[in-house]
Symmetry: C2
């Protein structure tokens, strides 16, 4: 892919890193950025992540061959509605939202039956604890997973264009349907985030919370790192993926009730079995400092 013009809605960590990687690959001539924070856009310009700032969505997408929507998921529909009348005939549109069924539904409403064919729903799996263009990096997506969830209506050529762009960022690509995507990420991402937020908030509400947490070790810091993520973004994700997240939360509540039962009964063997299964599984799945 070689683009004359790329438009980025939301020139923060996710959008900025996409632009920076394509620029570094020599795959784009001109990047135009749109966003809510003027200061962030000015900084993106200084960092040469974007080449111009567009005030109006319509001017941003004029002549753009590829548009990336990297805004909080709840705003996706509004952005798509604003640009729909103005995109060129050959323009491909993609997004970076963490939920996909709601984005597909929003795109159907905003884009209509013709333009929807050139919309490729996507989700790059890249750390979102940091945010803003300052954190953007051409290397962010190297060896990271990008999930695309094209609908049966999506053009093959549009998919190929988006695959190619992510490929130039160094990402590994996977395709699945939007429903499966939302179930998978409710489990491996949305639930852990909700759990970490709930734990930290519980302690934050206590008197002498600061003193309490002063005794925390590296384990607590690791466990709660994701509670440093954007509250607005995670609010949107939880609401957008409510059903799948509720199912995971209920499964987890049952698991905790079982653990509570073993603990109250003083059943050391049952506890050890849970811990052993967890540790064995984790070391099968993930490399890390968990050898013995």
């Amino acid at each position: 892919v070689k683009l004359q013009r790329l438009a980025i809605f939301g020139a923060g960590l996710i959008g900025g890193s996409f632009a920076a990687a394509l620029k570094q690959a020599g795959a784009v001539e001109h990047v135009v950025g749109v966003g809510r924070s003027r200061a962030n856009l000015e900084r993106a310009l200084e960092l040469q992540v974007i080449d111009t700032i567009a005030i109006e969505p319509r001017s941003a997408v004029r002549d753009a061959e590829l548009v990336l929507i990297a805004v909080p998921v709840q705003q996706t529909e509004q952005v798509l509605s604003e640009i729909a009348p103005h995109v060129s005939a050959s323009c491909v549109i993609t997004d970076a939202g963490s939920t996909k069924q709601d984005v597909v539904a929003a795109a159907r409403r905003a884009l209509g039956s013709s333009l929807i064919r050139r919309f490729v729903p996507g989700h790059p799996i890249a750390g979102a604890e940091r945010s803003g263009v300052e954190a953007a990096s051409a290397a962010l997506y190297r060896d990271r997973l990008v999930v695309l969830t094209p609908t049966p209506d999506t053009d093959g050529a549009a998919i190929a264009c988006v695959r190619s762009a992510w490929g130039l960022c160094g990402a590994r690509l996977v395709e699945m349907d939007a429903k499966r995507h939302d179930e998978v990420f409710a489990a491996v991402s949305h639930l852990p985030h909700a759990l970490a937020f709930a734990l930290v908030q519980m302690y934050a509400a206590r008197p002498h919370a600061e003193e309490l947490v002063g005794f925390a070790g590296a384990g607590f810091r690791d466990f709660t790192r994701i509670a440093g993520s954007s509250p607005e973004m995670w609010r949107d994700i939880c609401i957008a993926n409510r059903d799948a997240l509720l199912a995971e939360l209920d499964a987890y509540l049952s698991a905790l009730q079982a653990l509570r039962h073993h603990l109250a009964a003083g059943d050391a063997e049952a506890l050890e079995r849970i811990f052993q299964d967890a540790r064995a599984a984790r070391s099968r799945w993930l490399s890390g400092p968990s050898s013995d």
Copy 2:
């Protein structure tokens, strides 16, 4: 403190690092190691973390001026019972167990009213995901917290000896009573470990678990890192600190039920408030990549 002879029960990460740090500080002449794993002891000898291996507890403590018990907490009482008749008149005994009320109770039973005065219950807060003497390091305790929970019976001179030894390891020392210790660590350590084990085990029990977790990002890896910890050690900790852990688990179950209620009701504002409180608290408490 300058020791002729230090005895270490459990020459793994915790005991081995203590010995290595005191050796590096030139504060000990001779370290004798005792443990369940002959292979680990041989390795500790090779690494010069210990100078001799003792087969019998009685020979290990003969002439020792300081004894560190760094075995799984449930074994502490047995070790103390074995050494009690053999320690010298001036010997100071300390431990590294993650729970303290049970250790104090075990020490009272095992040591009797005279020797209990020279027992200084301790808990170094140092990563326990790795284990074994291979992971031991003279630098492990540098700037780490060590909590001592002396009883009203503990000799001031014994406390001073143990403080001095940990100080030479580079640790920061805090004293609190055993009950408060157990409550604090139920909150900032034991609950997070139980939660991480339960989450990983829940996914491990599903069909296609491996595929599911293949989609996990860095957040999941951080969140579940503590599920790589020793199942045996954590079984002991949970049982030993059952009451405080049950209280924290129940508080967390309530917090999750509240979160579930907001989610089911689609109450985005309530969710965002929880997430915001958590993020703000975490960034007050801990430094880390959670700026925006």
